[in-house]
Amino acid sequence: MPSTPSLDGIPLFERLSPDERDELAEIMSPASFAAGASIYEEGGPEETLYVVTSGAVEVHKKILPGRGHHLAAIQAPAVIGEMGLLTEPRAAASVTARTPVEAQGIARDQFLEMLDEDSLAACKVIYEIGRTLAERMARTDESIAGIISQLERRNARGGHDPDVFGDRLLNEWGF
């Protein structure tokens, strides 16, 4: 009998009752990644959502030919692959293990099936994900407003520095 993964201390599962945690645990499978191992490949499939329970991961994206841009380092506890769950199952960026990583994988199909069946456990997880997306959207909106203001000011002065905008856009990235 597989041991039930501990979901304690992971914000995503805080609202879940013990029964609801068990319900989710049934579709989870443990996964480990060695330091340097690839978890998602940019443009590749994103069929599994991972709850990272220990370790750290790095996010990279190819912005310009031949150059990968480092977007973020994410420390456990964290969830990765949630955008694939809510949109297309295609990774927008590459994610690799920076240290040895322990995680619980949730198959996208199975999770979506639970949502279709109106599982309250699955809906509660989505609610928490939605809260993080709402804040990320707010930050994105504000940074874009900043960039637009900056562009307009520079435009009014008759010149601009493209590199500054590129850097700033990347800094504000919220993966």
Binding site: I63, M83, D118, A138, I148
Partner: protein, 193 residues
Amino acid sequence: MGGGGHIIFEVRRPRWEMGMTEEKLYRVRFFEFLTDEERSEFMEDAKPAAFEAGEVIISEGKEPSSLFILMSGRVEVRKRLSGGRDRLLAEMDADREATVVGERGLLGQSGASATVRAASRVEAIEIPRKTFRRMISEGRPAAFKLSYRIARTLATRLTRLDEEIVEAIRDLERRGETDLEAFQDRLITEWTV
């Protein structure tokens, strides 16, 4: 904004004016994923709201907003920029199709990122943020199902926005300069209130 989509939501029209006894059923493309009972749960606490031309429905920078289902009338969405200027982000016409604004405010903690103002008389149904939060803390499935819908809308917009930003950066690099107007227009197309 514009989170409507392909949804049918039957709303019993409240009494907008004193003495008005007629109640009409309105069909709004919203909330198809809810059962009839769950729709009624929302409607029990939903409030009718009417705005005259020029009145503010959602105010930028203030508290996180409530969700408004705009049933009729036209609105403008504007964003404050530095130097006291503002910029028109969108115009929406609820006479053509009922539309939703303020859905991000239900999930988020941050204030609204733009102002929504009535451009003509607007009739709306408000699902107050407080009501939604209470339903969440009571563990009511209807509220969690609505958050699934909102999360999907937000995820889709964020994904498109991220793609636009990458495209903009590639443009900047390729040409060493960019068409500033086009660049700005692209960035604001995916705005959410």
